[in-house]
Symmetry: C2
Subunit: 392 residues, 2 copies
Amino acid sequence: MNDFPVDQVDSVVTPWNVSGVVDYDKLIEQFGSQKIDPQLLKKFESLTGRPLHPFLRRGIFFSHRDLQEILQLYENGTKFYLYTGRGPSSDALHLGHMIPFLFTQYLQEAFQVPCVIQLTDDEKFLFSKDNSKKLEDYQRLGWENAKDILAVGLDCERTFIFRDTDYIGTMYPNILKIQKAVTYNQARAIFGFDDSDNIGKHGFPAVQAAPSFSSSFPQLFGPQNNLPCLIPCAIDQDPYFRMTRDVAPKLGYRKPALIHSKFFPALQGENTKMSASMAHTAIYVSDSAKQLKTKVNKYAFSGGGATIEEHKKYGGNCDIDVAYKYLSFFLEDDEQLEKIRQEYSSGKMLTGEIKAKLIQVLQPFLEQHQQRRSQVTDEMIRKVMTPRKLSF
Amino acid sequence: MNDFPVDQVDSVVTPWNVSGVVDYDKLIEQFGSQKIDPQLLKKFESLTGRPLHPFLRRGIFFSHRDLQEILQLYENGTKFYLYTGRGPSSDALHLGHMIPFLFTQYLQEAFQVPCVIQLTDDEKFLFSKDNSKKLEDYQRLGWENAKDILAVGLDCERTFIFRDTDYIGTMYPNILKIQKAVTYNQARAIFGFDDSDNIGKHGFPAVQAAPSFSSSFPQLFGPQNNLPCLIPCAIDQDPYFRMTRDVAPKLGYRKPALIHSKFFPALQGENTKMSASMAHTAIYVSDSAKQLKTKVNKYAFSGGGATIEEHKKYGGNCDIDVAYKYLSFFLEDDEQLEKIRQEYSSGKMLTGEIKAKLIQVLQPFLEQHQQRRSQVTDEMIRKVMTPRKLSF
């Protein structure tokens, strides 16, 4: 899995590159996925017996594959498991990294299902051009990242987090079967590989595909199993799972279902890339209240008028205003968000004010996260990384 | 590792294809290895304090890389470990398959060193075009083959046999490091890969390279180690280890040393391919005395004259006579072998007689092997396949 990328000009979306202003409807068409429609949302609500997550209400998770089948199976008594992941490239996660995990936590709690989380330390090592980092560094980052992930409130009894370098052996039979079913020509067409790429990259897509098949987890789900799988992820990860879904029937496995999110924008706005190596492009979950305040005030791209007068006259543009975007991810209260939208669009609310509001929302989020994370011990990580029978 | 191939017309030598009459001197030049010279043989004899193995005396193991360094280190008190392997493609091994293991057993006994044996069930699955065989079939073949391998008399206290699908996890860090150091362009040049090959093939050379580095075996040799490694193998496996030796310094590892054998010819002669799928092209270690007799008499290509008269007049040609070739591998007594060569070449010994001689030599070899193999239990295989501290 890769870092959560952002939308930019002239849309290009692969697992390693997202650039351009993304037209999400066009992406659905291009990728051949389905839009999440009101009927599906209603089903979600009735099955879980709880209000929809803001990410669903607001179309942040907007696209899917076979989600209705997963919900139908669930309704008929067949539980699924959740699979998501992260490429451990940096010590701290930023807000964009958190989206799939926050959503996975919600799904796990709402459906009471197990969840597997892959940390692709192998991928980060193979794909990184930074030769100062050793394999052991990515392994360590995986371990540290697991603490942030667990801190979102995942249920330890239902969660298995694994680093590829620890768990590859158990998945290897499935990895081989997937690799045998995909030619280099196909992989190159899907992932844009180059002949000067190292040979590890070519086989890697099978490593990310393998957890989509429940037989990759005999200790979790029993030796013989073919459980339905639901994968919450950013839409840029879809190529992996298109490949996975193509291969599944050849192997006698179920196709995994998917639920795709939009991208989380960088502080500098939708047309810039959020980068783990450029601290000022993102808010990290480890940022202090002071860092948060400085970053939002200094770097968050504003859709407001150039002057207060202009702003009051023409209003702010919520479509490009990063503070508003972030609020749409993190402010749970719909009425408040709508009020902010109206007041900012009309010019009544100033840029400084919407930024202050964002800081007011994010500050307790970060504080709570940091507090939870400080309670995650190495012993807890060891436990959650141990393959064992998971509760359903 | 692949099946032991044979020499044919218009020499082409890769791990998956050997064809043509092989000019071994040319191969040494082409591959850039060294010829084993009398001085090196003398060193061998003096260090081991025992007579040279017939495979060495007769130039069957004929080429090497850094063998003098390995012997020098040994003389100075640094022990090496042996690494060889097999691709488990068939239930029984044929005589050609046995050569590296017979020689490895000799080396292990002569130098009292540990030995690791890789069973590349993953490779056989990825490279096989026979889709009737599943991964599980190759795993089973690996297990069965281990019994034949152990039956050559390897020292259980000094031997670790492993199937890749069991052991990949422990080697994975080294595999990743090797993969990252090799581009697809390089691998294609070395192994002749095709863009329509499956993506598993591309990464596989790193799996065969990894056991060359002792850090792939922390349970055997301790967590921190960089032991010298000597690889006895047929010369067609050299491309793997050329790649391995190129990569080694980048990873801070020792280059493995190699000792290469010539090919063991098919029953039909040097220009034909011995195939595990064509039972009549090879003598299997599981063949009965009757099967042996029939195969030798019926299929072993003869270098004798077309008629008894011609044979008596012009003599037999030992260079192409399969019975003589096989005797040169399996008849230990040099004087006897030389006597046979003279009598057959001169026409005094007839084709039926040299074949009878071969049967007389091979029959007890097979009988002894079968007896030893019948004593190898699943429990012994389990034990020898368990990673554990090996004796030096």
